[in-house]
């Protein structure tokens, strides 16, 4: 019996259209009076325009939407010692919730929500190309341009988009080359390099001086030899 009551509650709530909040298009003929009609549709819906052209049709479909609608239905059941009988439901534009409980202490609740999810992968060039091509098609469908102008428009659009893609490619390659150059350039610690230079120059000077001292001792009073020692010291330190 308990299970039947809860099951009925679930069925009642799941039958509510608000649990699937995908809104249809709205038409308002009053917005602009005799000038025409105004239509609005949710962002996740696409339109396909079909116009008769002599014996054929001109078909222009809108680009794929940039968002998708995600519906989530959460159903929670739990048992408690609650003895009250209560049924309620609240609805909003994008969400709906309901609850049911009974004297036997079983309670259920449901929540439905809809979230707009942005679809990834649309670069600026992709978006531009889509809009150009769609606009060109609609211009033809509305009779503003003829077949030849439409074809010319398509060719120009493709040419422009190709040029933009080529520019993007060149820029990307330049960035890549720059990044690789930065990576390849090894930045050395100048202080460490200087430490070695100072240490070895000092050691060299000391060694040269030691050799000079020995030379002078050996040269003793021989002026020529002493002079040669000085020349050798000079060469050693260079």
């Amino acid at each position: 019996m308990k299970k039947v009551i809860v099951l009925v509650g679930i069925i009642v709530l799941s039958g509510c259209s608000v649990l699937s909040p995908q809104k249809p298009q709205k038409i308002s003929s009053e917005a602009i009076g005799d000038m025409g009609d105004m239509y609005s549709i949710p962002a996740n819906l696409r339109t396909i325009d079909i116009r008769k052209k002599n014996a054929d049709y001109i078909v222009c479909s809108e680009p794929v939407p940039d968002i998708a609608m995600s519906n989530a239905l959460k159903l929670a059941l739990d048992a408690s010692n609650t003895q009250s009988v209560e049924t309620s439901a609240t609805t909003g534009d994008d969400s709906a919730s309901g609850s049911v409980s009974n004297a036997l202490g079983l309670k259920g609740s449901s929540d439905a929500s809809t979230t707009a999810l942005e679809l990834a992968g649309r670069t600026q060039i992709v978006l531009l190309a889509r809009e150009f091509i769609s606009s060109n098609c609609k211009a033809r469908a509305n009779g503003w341009i003829d077949d030849d102008e439409f074809k010319l428009g398509q060719d120009e659009i493709v040419e422009q988009i190709t040029a933009m893609i080529t520019t993007d490619k060149v820029k990307a390659q330049a960035e890549k080359a720059k990044a690789e150059a930065v990576k390849a350039a090894v930045k050395l610690d100048n202080k460490a390099l200087a430490n070695v230079a100072v240490a070895f120059l000092q050691a060299k000077a000391e060694a040269c001086l030691t050799t000079y001292d020995s030379c002078m001792v050996t040269a003793s009073v021989d002026t020529e030899k002493r002079e040669a020692c000085k020349v050798a010291l000079g060469k050693c330190n260079n």
């Binding site: 050395l188 460490a192 070695v196 060299k204």
Partner: protein, 65 residues
């Protein structure tokens, strides 16, 4: 007397670049003990090696001046 040894000794507690094969490695300390040079690396290499021991006859240091 060893000019090379004297030079390396004077680098105690100073950073210096040593050549290991074709690779320059930055060392933070060179400690000369007899013919052994204990080299402390500034950045561990090969997943965790932070100190290497080089024979003084094989040690090569680098400078730019």
């Amino acid at each position: 007397m060893s000019t090379f040894r004297n030079a390396v000794n004077s680098l105690d507690d100073k950073s210096a670049y040593i050549m290991v094969g074709d690779t320059l490695i930055l060392a933070t300390n060179l400690n000369v003990v007899d013919d052994m040079v204990e080299v402390t690396l500034s950045t561990p290499i090969s997943g965790g090696i932070s100190r290497i021991f080089v024979h003084i006859d094989n040690l090569v240091l680098a400078s730019n001046s």
